[in-house]
Symmetry: C2
Subunit: 188 residues, 2 copies
């Protein structure tokens, strides 16, 4: 950020009075421009013993597999956002979504809200952001071709837990340790 | 938003190619400025049969009672944000936080993540944003003096459920029906 989005004057990064973190503050109108984490809402669409994955037609991670997920919009419900992403990326209708994972990705200031839900009729086809979509049994999951650590972690928990028949909410942080190495901190 | 935060030129609200919602787009550098919901992280600090509330020393809702909660920061974990707010607003240490409520406030584009946790030593005192803090038994909750619908709803669920001895995650939307009337939609 270099300019004030309200008046167009330059901004300076400084700690406003009464605050304890640097913010972009307008040199002219003194507006404080807070920057906050974004929410990514997504889901695990279930169909019998399979789950739906999408192969990405966009960067980053073009060509790799992921769960339907994307940025929540203003004025939207988190639940609706997760269902919308399934519709947009895979023409999939997800029913009865239940929150399954809450992950904070510190290095990109994103919070993932991952829901588990039933894929209506097992029906799906690629949306504009997907090269292909598919229903995968556990032994078919392309573990080495998954797009993101948060997706791998969500699926790992999901299949481990499915054997027990009880799904519990998982809360964790994903911390970047180097360019391509991430650590998952589990709260529970 | 009137000006591009990257180059200072005017922005226009329009639907970018390949998108389906209006965004602020820079007339000069063509940067697209997405706006997304903000996360408010908070908690219910528990101490024996009481919970901690804070009386607000800031607007909005100056003088009314609330749970410790505030905007999550970039680079922060959602869990850490909830604990930080308890520390800042009530000098309170909250242990073992468990997600208890996920509420989308459509009219202000906020997502509340409310955790339940134990207040260490029952110790609390007003932080800079609180006039006073207090530990309340259920029959002492100032229901008519609560600052926000999301706080009232969270506490209502909490006390109803505490009688059963089992706490479940609650997911809902809070919808403004008029200036001072809100409706809660419960997913579960």
């Amino acid at each position: 950020m270099k300019f004030c989005s309200l008046c167009g004057a330059p901004v300076t990064l400084r700690i406003p009075a009464g605050d304890n973190l640097p913010r972009y503050v307008c040199d002219a109108c003194e507006a404080i421009h807070y920057q906050n984490p974004k929410i990514v809402a997504g889901c695990i669409p279930e169909w019998q013993s399979r789950i739906l994955l999408c192969r990405r037609a966009i960067e980053p991670r073009y060509g790799l597999w992921t769960l339907p997920a994307g940025f929540m919009e203003n004025g939207e419900s988190a639940v609706a956002a997760a269902m919308r992403e399934a519709r947009e990326e895979a023409n999939a209708v997800v029913e009865n979504p239940m929150l399954y994972g809450l992950y904070s990705l510190l290095h990109v200031s994103q919070v993932y809200l991952m829901f588990r839900g039933q894929l209506r009729d097992g029906a799906a086809s690629p949306g504009a952001e997907s090269l292909e979509v598919g229903l995968f049994a556990e032994e078919e999951i392309p573990w080495e071709q998954l797009a993101f650590t948060v997706v791998r972690e969500t699926l790992r928990q999901y299949f481990a837990e499915r054997r027990t028949g009880v799904f519990n909410l998982h809360v964790g942080d994903i911390i970047r340790e180097s360019d391509d190495r991430f650590r998952v901190h589990h709260y529970y």
